[in-house]
Amino acid sequence: MIEIIDVFLLFFIVVCSVAAIFLKDLLSAIIILAAFSFLMAVEWTVLNAVDVAFTEAAVGAGITSVLLIATLSRTKRYEEQVNVPKEFAPVVHKGISTKIMPIVVVVITGAVLLYGTIDMPAFEDPNAPINKHVAPTYIHDADHEAGSINIVTAILANYRGYDTLGETTVIFAAGICVVVLLRREKWPEKKIT
């Protein structure tokens, strides 16, 4: 049963991503991206990653879309066809090579990734190395060693708490980078009348 839901969800996810890439109307593309994120969150819930699904629903479908739409409101809604004047034609390479090159790169990358799956442990395999080495200890000890029933939180805030400090710093960095790029008033703000 789960497999069927899984396959259906994945199918919709692929459809969404194709639509998000090829739509000319950026607003629709963004909304479809939000749908993609949301379906992804559902898929992760199916795969039992509840914390991640929660975060993705809040971030991917929420904040990212809001920011993207806000950006659109300050820029343009539609993708445009650029008319290249004659004198600039040599600068803007518009040959077949520019269309084919990305496809070649993508196909090669995908082929390498697929090659990697040959020796991969099977999906849901309980004997895969990742389920044998480090993780069992977390599952076994998290509640009495780290004091949290939710193992993900235990790892996040305790075992690998330093990573989370890094994560918080990344957020802070994003905030200050956006402020430095977009804010217009003087920084030590005075009252503007």
Binding site: I118, P129, V134, F172, R184, W187, P188
Partner: protein, 596 residues
């Protein structure tokens, strides 16, 4: 002592905390931001020197964050390579931060200065965090901190092309980061661990697994993109060219070096030498690619007319040296490649700082404008000469030490055909540096009021816009403090605002960079008042456009806070060239450890 025991984490933590505190301090005082960042980096520097010393004396230093044992928690492990690179980063970062104050004031909008220091500290935190950690996912997190900071710093450049350069950098940086994330995923899938030491132990049994091969391929491509190895270098020149001088110097000096460090770590610590050399042909491919990079980088550098672009392309070549030395997998060559991390950081750092001095003092960005600068800025130009000679690889400079080691290593490994590559690239480097050195010392300095150098400033006071005709070129100089967007009710406030608005011109005069001239002679105080009406009287005048004749006058050195760091770095080029034993001893041990 308890405090010293926690030094591995404090070295990272102090810059991090200062990065967080600086924006708050910046609300009170901007100068304090500079002080705080310098103090924090000085602490990091002394801490990392202490750690390096400890490593040299007693061997590996480890620190378990959260007190959890390694495969479960995150571990900081410092060995010779780590300690060496982290000291280099802290040293360069401290010197550049000391240099930053005046240069940033000149090149970045005033209100962005606290944020600049904060992001700068985040960049350093990220870079040092990457180097010191012993956990591969922690490495990814800090990689992203440093990259985010890098994107924003590049975007602070004045020209609008800086934004595009930054965006391209962001796209390729993110692709590289995601590739690395995929690599981590594949490795983790097969081994179930994220700790580097643990990975090294557990990986050998999977060396023939396609999963691991793919992971290695993705790591290599991602890191090549990060360090701008030759075919994947396209984002780099514009980034260095359009970012503020401080930023390009720190990025050129240590930004790519950290990528190279990660490359060494992945190729020789996470995987063993046998894997990277024998199981996969990647090492052989990298040898060829890097030797092409060395030559092509040098040739492209010759073709440039802007100093910064030239240095950027030469960086591409220099990255090739480090990769070449590492992939020869010979102990001597590896030593050379590790020392070159320090050496190139010193040389490129000092060169970009010199460019910053030139921009600050004389507004020079083109190679042609350097004519006769030897007389006007003797110290700066002496530093330039030293660093340039070092880039060429003249004996008694650092450049010689690393090239010598790589060449001997190539001979030792029986690959004599790489020695000509090194010699050719040295000759090419000599070509593009000699060209400049010739201009500096053997050309007449242009006459004070030579026709070409006359500048026409057209100021529309109402719109606070300054446009300058510089010969046939037009330069659009931005104002330093922004006027638009704030409306002041109060007259006094508005007057103060206007005063600020006027400051730049005054300051230019102070530094002797521009002087107002009329009919080919300097303007007397009265004439000047005629040209620049009393600022009080400006109020209520309304729209007004004025033409000025300004002459470019290149005289005198940059202020000592800029000059001293430059001289320190270029002095270090000679110091470590003569006293090469100190870094070589550490690098030899690091190389032995990598090739174990």
């Amino acid at each position: 002592m308890r405090f010293l025991q926690h030094l591995p984490v404090l070295v990272i933590l102090i810059p991090l905390i200062s990065a967080v505190v600086i924006p708050v301090i910046g609300r009170v005082n901007r100068f304090a931001c500079w002080i705080v960042s310098c103090v924090a980096l000085f602490f990091s520097l002394s801490g990392s020197i202490y750690l390096l010393n400890k490593v040299a004396n007693t061997g590996k230093v480890t620190y378990h964050l959260g007190g959890w044992k390694p495969p479960w928690g995150i571990e900081y492990s410092i060995d010779h390579l780590n300690g060496f690179v982290i000291t280099v980063i802290a040293f360069i970062a401290f010197v550049v931060a000391f240099y930053a104050e005046k240069s940033v004031e000149h090149e970045i909008e005033e209100r962005k200065i606290p944020a600049f220091y904060s992001i700068y500290m985040l960049l350093i935190t990220g870079l040092m965090g990457i180097v010191i950690t012993g956990d591969i996912f922690n490495l990814y997190v800090f990689l992203e901190i440093s990259s985010l900071a890098g994107y924003a710093l590049v975007a602070l450049g004045k020209h609008r092309n800086a934004l595009v350069a930054s965006f391209n950098y962001l796209i390729f940086g993110t692709i590289a980061g995601t590739f690395i994330l995929i690599g981590i995923g594949y490795i983790y899938m097969q081994t179930g661990t994220l700790n580097i030491a643990d990975l090294r132990e557990r990986l050998p049994e999977f060396y023939n697994s396609t999963v691991i091969l793919t992971a290695f391929a993705f790591f290599t491509v991602g890191l090549c993109l990060k360090v701008a190895l030759f075919p994947l270098h396209f984002w780099l020149p514009k980034v260095y060219n359009y970012s503020p001088s401080v930023v390009s110097s720190i990025m050129a000096a240590v930004g790519t070096k950290v990528g190279l460090y990660v490359m060494l770590r992945v190729m020789f610590t996470v995987f063993k030498v046998e894997f990277s050399v024998e199981n996969v042909p990647i090492a052989n491919i990298l040898i060829i690619i890097s030797s092409i990079a060395i030559v092509v980088g040098s040739i492209l550098a010759i073709a440039q007319t802007k100093i910064k672009l030239m240095l950027a392309y030469s960086s591409i070549g220099q990255v090739g040296y480090i990769v070449l030395g590492a992939t020869l997998t010979n102990q001597i060559a590896m030593t050379g490649s590790i020392i070159h991390i320090l050496n190139h950081a010193l040389m490129k750092g000092s060169l970009f700082l010199i460019v910053g001095c030139l921009v600050y003092k004389a507004g020079i960005e083109r190679i042609d404008d350097l004519e006769g600068m030897g007389k006007r800025m003797p110290f700066t130009m002496a530093a330039f000469t030293v660093s340039g000679l070092s880039m060429i690889g003249v004996p008694l400079t650092v450049g010689f030490v690393s090239k010598w080691h790589i060449a001997i290593g190539a001979l030792d490994a029986g690959m004599w055909y790489f020695v000509p590559v090194l010699i050719i690239s040295s000759l090419l480097t000599a070509v593009y540096f000699w060209r400049i050195i010739e201009k500096i010392y053997f050309y007449e300095e242009p006459a004070l009021l030579h026709e070409d150098r006359r500048v026409n400033i057209n100021i529309n006071w109402d719109r606070r816009e300054k446009r300058e005709n510089f010969g046939d070129r037009r330069i659009n100089l931005e104002r330093r403090s922004e006027f638009k967007g704030t409306r002041r009710k109060n007259k006094e406030d508005r007057r103060r605002q206007l005063d600020k608005q006027w400051q730049p011109l005054e300051q230019w005069d102070e530094h002797g960079r521009w002087e107002v001239v009329k009919n080919d002679r300097r303007v007397s105080e009265e004439d000047r008042r005629q040209f620049m009406p009393d600022r009080r009287s400006l109020e209520g005048i309304g729209r007004r456009t004025r033409d000025y004749n300004l002459a470019l006058i290149k005289r005198g050195e940059a202020p000592w806070t800029m000059l001293a760091p430059t001289l320190v770095l270029s002095g270090a080029c000679i110091f470590f060239g003569i006293a090469a034993k100190i870094p070589v001893a550490i690098a030899e041990k690091a190389a032995a450890m990598l090739l174990r």
